[in-house]
């Protein structure tokens, strides 16, 4: 088994964490849940920082903990890169000193990420001689990520690395994450309480609620599972994997294609064939029985109703299959009754707006 296998229990005051799950040993796994769900605690257990945790933990074929035979790998022996919520750079060291702190403790033969590579990947070449106190929040977090990468980790643990940053710094860091994802094949456990933060990156999703792993599965599937709270309320959305098919210079539009159909979105710069994730919010999707011709809405897809579930009072969430991809539509109870919608029925989804995941 090359993935992450965990079966961990921890009692911390009146809080109990029971984390039993498997996750793939590649790509980004989002640990998602409300604050207080135990996301950070779980990450700390994986890193070995939390005392008192019981159970067993296997990371890409290597045992890190097995309480049954009294085995616990000390945190400094676990090949993880940990990025904390606050960058937590060492104030007594320069940026270079911080980067070298972990690097120096890795035998030369075991280094798979080289300093130049990490510095270039995170764009921190100009900061090397500076002290952490003289960096902006975004710069600090980039240095912290590079510092973690330079230990050549087998697993990257990120604890809401963007939470302490303002909007501008977040936008500054996200492209670096994407390059990281594309360049290095290190699996990532990424703690977040905001799905949109990982909508562009996440491959797998682990849903935590009050110390328990409620469900886990491929990211795009999990978003539309009507039995989970994720697929309800105002923020419910589906994510579609598409690629750039064409640009329309006259109308300033870009066309994205996937098995479900073709989407027109406001023009953005990207080569034809570029992969892009599209976020479609349930509240922006309405259903019609026949293909409308006289509408200002450009994105209309033929879909089949898979499931209907109660949402807020007076509203229902409809799960849709758009030729293999899942979509959500939130409509009123009244519309459901008037249109006589039922499971298995073929209808059309009118999508008022879509957004690129970023």
């Amino acid at each position: 088994m090359n993935g992450i296998e965990a079966d961990l229990q921890l009692s911390c005051g009146d809080f109990t964490l029971t984390a039993r799950f498997t996750a793939p040993g590649r790509g980004v796994t989002a640990l998602f849940g409300a604050s207080g769900a135990g996301k950070t605690l779980l990450l700390r257990c994986v890193a070995g920082l939390q005392p008192g945790v019981r159970g067993h933990l296997n990371i890409t074929g290597e045992c890190w903990q097995d309480s049954a035979r009294g085995y616990f790998l000390a945190p400094h022996r676990r090949p993880v890169g940990y990025v904390f919520q606050e960058a937590s750079l060492f104030p007594h060291l320069s940026v270079r000193g911080n980067l070298e702190y972990g690097l120096r403790r890795i035998p030369v033969g075991a280094r798979s990420v080289l300093p130049d590579q990490a510095i270039e990947l995170l764009g921190i070449g100009a900061l090397l001689t500076r002290r952490p106190a003289h960096l902006s929040g975004g710069e600090r977090q980039r240095v912290a990520i590079a510092r973690a990468l330079l230990t050549s980790p087998r697993l990257l643990l990120m604890d809401e690395p963007l939470a302490a940053l303002d909007q501008a710094s977040k936008a500054e860091i996200l492209p670096y994450f994407e390059r990281l994802h594309a360049t290095l094949s290190i699996p990532v456990l990424y703690v977040t309480h905001a799905v949109d933060e990982v909508a562009r990156l996440a491959d797998y999703l682990l849903l935590l609620e009050r110390g328990k792993v409620l469900a886990h599965g491929p990211f795009v599937e999990m978003l539309t599972r009507l039995d989970l709270s994720l697929a309800h309320g105002d923020s419910a959305e589906a994510v579609l994997e598409t690629q750039v098919a064409a640009h329309d210079a006259e109308y300033r539009l870009t066309y994205l294609e996937c098995a479900s159909g073709c989407f027109a979105i406001p023009h953005f710069d990207a080569a034809i064939g570029t992969r892009a994730r599209l976020r479609v919010r349930a509240r922006d999707v309405s259903l019609v029985l026949t293909p409308p011709h006289d509408t200002s809405i450009l994105n209309i897809l033929p879909v089949r109703i898979l499931a209907i579930s109660e949402d807020r009072p007076g509203q229902v969430m409809v799960g849709l299959d758009a030729n293999g991809a899942a979509l959500l539509a939130r409509i009123t109870q009244k519309s459901l009754m008037l249109l006589k919608l039922e499971i298995g029925q073929r209808v059309y989804a009118q999508i008022k707006s879509v957004a690129l995941a970023e």
């Binding site: 890193a47 070995g48 920082l49 000390a74 945190p75 400094h76 022996r77 676990r78 993880v80 890169g81 940990y82 904390f84 606050e86 937590s88 060492f90 104030p91 007594h92 702190y101 972990g102 403790r105 890795i106 002290r131 106190a133 003289h134 510092r147 973690a148 230990t151 643990l157």
Partner: protein, 228 residues
């Protein structure tokens, strides 16, 4: 105003005692302070109280018990005799033991405060960067707690220079072996040699002032450097 040879010997002995005591205190006080700063044990407050005892006890009380313990009839004395070391009272080694206990809170408390102020985070970060517990202590805790070490060294040294009661009880006044500055001042006054007493006393005041000023300037500068 000039110093007699006996006075100079007292000055030299005092500096030697303070230096040795400070080194012993660092070796002994650092682990105690580290433990106190990080333990969850119920023993924490009792140990805290024991370390702070010399702050509230009259030095003569401490000196009296040390004399009894280290004397030929005391358990420590019996042990040192059995080891062929003789007894500690009225020797330089006895003074070091007395001074170490007497100045312990002045070293442990600043270190403990500095270690507590560190928090867990820098040590956890170091652990995830593959630093072993010893490595974390020396590469992260010590440099970050540097102002605490500076305060501890200066206070431990200066407080040893300034002690009187414990030294008098444990060491007596043997020129060259146990007669330190404060005892010399006392004897000059007893003998109505005010000029000699003035020379030593004023020198001590100047010394104390300079030490404290240096400490304040250094910690101020380090704070500024850290922020820069």
């Amino acid at each position: 105003m000039s110093f007699s040879a006996a006075d100079l010997a007292a000055v030299w002995l005092t500096l030697k005692l303070a230096t040795v005591t400070t080194l012993v205190l660092l070796l002994l006080g650092t682990p105690i302070a580290w433990w106190l700063a990080r333990t969850q044990s119920w023993l924490k407050q009792p140990v805290n109280a024991i370390v702070a005892l010399p702050l509230v006890l009259p030095p003569t009380v401490l000196g009296f018990y040390l004399l009894v313990l280290m004397g030929p009839a005391g358990p420590v004395g019996a042990l040192t005799l059995a080891l062929g070391l003789g007894t500690l009272p009225f020797t330089f080694a006895g003074l070091v033991v007395g001074s170490t206990l007497y100045s312990l809170p002045f070293v442990v408390q600043p270190l403990q405060n500095a270690f507590t102020a560190l928090g867990e985070r820098p040590l956890e970060v170091a652990a995830t960067l593959r630093a072993s517990p010893w490595d974390r202590f020396f590469s992260v805790a010590v440099p970050l707690a540097y102002p605490g070490f500076l305060t501890a060294v200066v206070l431990g040294f200066a407080h040893t220079v300034g002690e009187f009661g414990v030294v008098l009880m444990v060491g007596g006044s043997i020129p060259g072996a146990t007669k330190v500055l404060s005892i010399a001042v006392y004897e000059h006054v007893e003998n109505l040699e005010y000029a000699n007493a003035h020379a030593l006393a004023a020198g001590l005041i100047g010394f104390a002032f300079i030490i404290l000023l240096l400490l304040l300037l250094l910690t101020g500068r380090m704070e500024a450097a850290r922020r820069a």
